[in-house]
């Protein structure tokens, strides 16, 4: 049996009273892409930082390529690459100098360094900008350079921490293509993202992280089955109507400040009709109605708001 590229058990980390990771379990098979999906503060970056030896966990175990991140950080470092949220480039050097710096630190040798750097500049569409200072680079170019620097020595496991945050749609698609190429070459990728769409595009498996725990873990299709059609949002004129409707529709979540009620729905006309009929029968007037197709909010609504519904997938992280 193959050793998983990444194996994490009961990972814990806290800063003072604030618990960031509360027993995270995660396994990533070699050569696959796993997306760590979660909102800000869910612990995605912390997890990646522990796996890339930047942080020491408080408890639990984590292995990358079979090396313990605490006992053998050197072994881990030999086989990984990290492209983080915050650009890890030397802003005082040019793009080419940055890549050469990495090539030297990876001990590629003078000749191979040169060809590898030329190759990467070509692949990441940075040839023209190669000798220009980084101050002249756009956000997308810096991100591409950042990833190119990670790839200088072709690491077997790559961590991408929100690789497309802050990029325009075109740059984002370029980044996605790059990730797909990497995987085609057999690289294991663990990427974090806040966007379901991105996870859906790239990942073989998605692990949903919330409040320092993996609340669900499965293939994109398995997760999508959890949220068949998103939700209906109903807005009312006053609190009285909102209260009444809230009592009437028991599977709903209320947003008191917006005087709104959210009801999960399978997207079909049937559910919509049922909801409206029940409100009508009770004589409640709806100010405004909108139908939402599934997004990350719905994933959390389904997975964290109502845990009893998440039995369909492999629910992890509940044991401490």
């Amino acid at each position: 049996m193959n050793t998983p590229a990444i194996e994490v058990h009961g990972l814990r980390k806290s800063y003072g009273d604030k618990i960031v990771l509360d027993g995270v379990n995660l396994t990533v098979a070699a050569g696959t892409v796993t997306a760590l999906l979660g909102p800000n503060g869910a612990g995605k970056t912390t997890t990646v930082h522990i796996l890339s030896t930047l942080l020491r966990p408080d408890g639990g175990t984590a292995f990358v390529n079979g090396c313990d991140v605490v006992r053998d950080p050197g072994g881990v470092r030999l086989g990984i690459g990290l492209t983080g949220q915050f650009s890890a480039v030397d802003k005082l050097l040019t793009g080419e100098e940055n890549l050469l710096l990495m090539a030297r630190l990876r001990h590629l040798g003078a000749k191979r360094s040169k060809t590898r750097v030329a190759e990467l500049l070509e692949q990441f569409d940075l040839v023209e900008a190669a000798r220009k200072p980084l101050a002249t680079y756009s956000g997308g170019m810096q991100r591409r350079l950042d990833l190119a620097m990670t790839l200088v020595a072709t690491p077997s496991v790559i961590f991408l921490d929100e690789p497309t945050t802050g990029l325009d749609p075109r740059s984002r698609h370029t980044m996605w293509d790059i990730v797909r190429d990497l995987v085609a070459e057999g690289t294991t990728v663990l990427l974090t993202t806040q966007h379901l769409e991105e996870a859906d595009e790239l990942a073989d498996r998605i692990a949903v992280l919330d409040g320092g725990r993996i609340v669900a873990d499965g293939t994109p299709d398995e997760l999508k089955r959890l949220l068949p059609g998103g939700h209906i949002r109903l807005r009312f004129a006053d609190t009285a109507a909102l209260d009444a409707a809230s009592r009437l529709l028991d599977e709903s979540a209320r947003d008191s400040t917006g005087l709104a009620l959210t009801v999960s729905s399978d997207g079909g006309v049937g559910t919509l009709r049922t909801v409206l009929d029940r409100l009508d029968a009770a004589g409640l007037e709806v100010e405004d109605l909108s139908i939402h197709t599934p997004d990350l909010d719905d994933v959390f609504f389904a997975l964290t708001g109502k845990k009893d519904q998440s039995d369909g997938v492999d629910t992890k992280g509940t044991e401490s």
Partner: protein, 278 residues
């Protein structure tokens, strides 16, 4: 199983050790490139001592020089220039430590340093790159400040051997002080702290025999001045360049260099290790 792991660990350790020198050179090259491309900070470390030199010689020099033991009051300014020059050179070195601290503190907040930590690079190499880079910068700074000194009339009596010995000692002191500067930069959480902490070093030549003979100080201060490292540094350079009695000062100075370098190395390594696995 354990033996296999041990062997692999040993193998990685060996392969890592053999790269320390290569990685240090790579890091040094990066730091030198920064200095060449953005010389602002380096200029500042040279400008400071030059201003102090001109100030103490031309503004205070006449009176201060006349007060030196065995000096004819009429030739006070020239005598004071000769007396103060070694101290100014030491202030120059101490000043570059503050440059090193700022550079390191800035670098530690950059994403690139986080990247270095995720790579199999020797920790010592990252630090050595900064230290050697700063030592080179300090040597250039000392040479330029000395040049200004010669321009305004500093006339050393040293022979080639003594010049060589002075140069060697300057390199050694610059290397040792750079380690302290790098450690201070690592210690500082902000760049502001990093620029303030090394000011202590710049004060030391003044609290030693750099500007006035230690005998003229109050008892407590005199005791401190006599036993702090900058006094043997200054006395050695003074002796080598101007032929004043050397005594044990060169030995003491070299000893202090070793102590300071080792302390700075241990200090910065400890912090780097703590910062890399928080």
């Amino acid at each position: 199983m354990t033996t296999v792991t041990d062997q692999r660990l040993t193998a990685t350790r060996i392969s890592r050790q053999s790269h320390v020198v290569a990685d240090s050179i790579t890091m040094l090259r990066r730091n030198l490139l920064h200095i060449v491309r953005y010389p602002g900070l380096s200029m500042f470390t040279i400008l400071g001592p030059v201003v102090i030199l001109l100030l103490v010689v031309f503004v205070f020099g006449g009176t201060l020089g006349a007060g030196l033991p065995g000096v004819d009051p009429a030739g006070g300014r020239g005598a004071y220039l000769a007396y103060v020059m070694p101290g100014i050179l030491l202030i120059t070195i101490a000043g570059t430590a503050s440059g090193a601290a700022i550079t390191v503190a800035m670098d530690m907040t950059e994403g690139i340093t986080a990247r270095f930590r995720t790579m199999a690079i020797s920790r010592a190499a990252v630090l050595a790159g900064h230290v050697i880079g700063n030592t080179i910068q300090a040597i250039i700074a000392v040479a330029l400040v000395l040049g200004v000194g010669l321009l305004v009339g500093f006339r050393p009596t040293a022979r080639p051997v003594e010049w060589l010995a002075s140069a060697g000692l300057i390199v050694l002191i610059a290397f040792a002080v750079s380690w302290i500067g790098v450690a201070m930069g690592m210690q500082s959480k902000t760049v502001e702290t990093a620029s303030n902490l090394p000011l202590i070093l710049t004060l030391l030549p003044m609290l030693g025999s750099g500007f006035v003979p230690t005998e003229s100080m109050p008892a407590g201060l005199q005791w401190f001045a006599q036993y702090q490292p900058f006094t043997p540094f200054i006395e050695s350079i003074r002796g080598l360049l101007l032929g004043t009695p050397l005594g044990w000062n060169p030995m003491l100075g070299i000893g202090w260099c070793v102590v300071i370098a080792v302390a700075g190395y241990a200090w910065s390594m400890a912090i780097y290790e703590r910062k890399s696995v928080r």
